[in-house]
């Protein structure tokens, strides 16, 4: 068993956790990561919902667990062929591996806010994204965030919207928005903070507590209605329009800062790897799993497993749980097949 080699494509939370668990199960995982470090999107985040836990502490723990695990950073997959249940994988650094199983942990891309032109991202200076606000919390370095008095958050940017061909819910934005709303209110206590939502999907452990805390302790004002357009007035402030759907009246408001809660989209370039492995996508672009209950860690291709947000938008706890499940599924697969050992080839 311990000579089996498993290739993990992607070094974010899903990849790191899958690799760590596989190693604990006595197998030999190798992480292939295209960037120069492990961590994925987690490395860009400052604090995590629902309780504003330190993202870096979690990241450091996960990285530490991967210290002894073989990894190839700054590396891309150039080709994969399959022969007798063995995957021959060529890498951009010229190496190649023979692997008994592959786990796709390729994650997601954040929706590109400029695609929703009506929100004016990239046009108006004071329209920023959730990721940029998180970067500000991390570095306190963003000229656009300058003592704002009125701040708006737009939920569901690039999610639940046929106009951008994304009909799904990205799952993490509601909780992220309320978390960030509390954090910015904490930083600028004199400001008024509005969240424009369609539904508040506070489904996870501690999320409803976060919602109540945001209302009660931070005076975050939740307005039910999607912002339809943003413009700039002569003073360079943002004017937004929405319907207050709970009253059934139109609403117009001037803001100093608007934060767009960009949702999750399929990772760019993932089709290239999917084509090599003969793995299809769902209509939403995310990787297709074997079924929707029992085969969530499996693709329809024997020996190719999945974990994390590459199959659908996922929270961190979901991703970590799925990574652990994937490791067990890989272990069972290899045990049942009783495959022979194949060594590293350079």
């Amino acid at each position: 068993m311990n000579e089996h080699k498993i290739l993990i494509i992607g070094g974010g939370p899903a990849g790191m956790e899958t690799a760590y668990q596989l190693k604990k199960l006595g197998l030999k995982p190798v992480i292939i990561e295209r960037s120069d470090k492990l961590g994925g999107h987690l490395a860009q985040w400052d604090r995590l919902f629902p309780a504003s836990d330190d993202a870096e502490a979690l990241l450091e723990k996960m990285r530490e667990q991967c210290i002894d695990i073989e990894k190839r950073l700054n590396t891309r997959i150039t080709n994969i062929t399959k022969e007798n249940n063995i995957f021959h994988v060529s890498l951009s650094n010229g190496n190649s591996y023979d692997a008994d199983a592959i786990v796709l942990c390729t994650g997601f891309d954040l929706f590109k806010a400029e695609r929703k032109q009506e929100y004016g991202y990239g046009i108006y200076n004071n329209v920023i994204t959730n990721a940029e606000l998180e970067h500000y919390f991390k570095t306190h370095n963003d000229e656009r965030i300058n003592e704002p008095k009125k701040i708006g958050f737009v939920h569901c940017v690039g999610s639940r919207d046929v106009k951008v061909n994304n009909t799904y819910c990205s799952k993490v934005c509601c909780a992220t928005a309320l978390k960030q709303a509390c954090e910015i209110k904490e930083e600028f206590p004199d400001s008024d903070v509005y969240c424009f939502y369609m539904d508040l999907r506070m489904f996870g452990k501690g999320y409803e507590d976060l919602y109540l805390k945001a209302q009660k302790d931070f005076d975050i004002k939740c307005v039910r209605g999607r912002v339809c357009e943003v413009s700039e007035n002569i003073e360079g402030k943002l004017v937004i329009k929405a319907e207050d759907t709970l009253l059934g009246t139109p609403m117009k408001m001037t803001l100093d800062l608007l934060v767009l809660m960009c949702g999750m989209e399929k990772a760019s370039g993932i089709e290239r790897i999917q084509n090599m492995l003969n793995i299809k996508s769902n209509a939403d672009g995310f990787i297709e799993t074997r079924d929707t209950f029992y085969g969530l860690n499996h693709t329809k291709e024997e020996g190719v497993f999945v974990a994390g947000a590459c199959t659908s938008p996922k929270t961190l706890p979901d991703t970590i749980a799925e990574a652990r499940a994937a490791a067990v599924e890989v272990f069972n697969y290899l045990k049942d097949n009783g495959q022979q050992t194949f060594s590293l080839r350079f």
């Binding site: 209302q215 939740c222 207050d244 709970l246 009253l247 117009k252 001037t254």
Partner: protein, 95 residues
Amino acid sequence: MMDDIDLELFNKLEALNPDIKTCMACGLCTATCTTGKFTDMSFRKVILMLQRGKDKEAIEKVKSCMMCGKCMMVCSRGINTRNILLSITRIYNER
């Protein structure tokens, strides 16, 4: 335009009854309201209207309230609606 509204009285109301902030617009208060069957009284809407500066319309609704307190019994956030209605009568009558 939300920028021009005067929220002085609402802020006063909110300071006295901070539980107002926790409304999640479920509509239980309105669904259970006896008066609401015959008039357009809706506690949820009254609060929202005051928040949006539509004081006159809100007070008009409050006038038909019979203070039975059913809305307080059903509120899933435990908001003391009865107390808030009394506060509204007092605070908004001052003007």
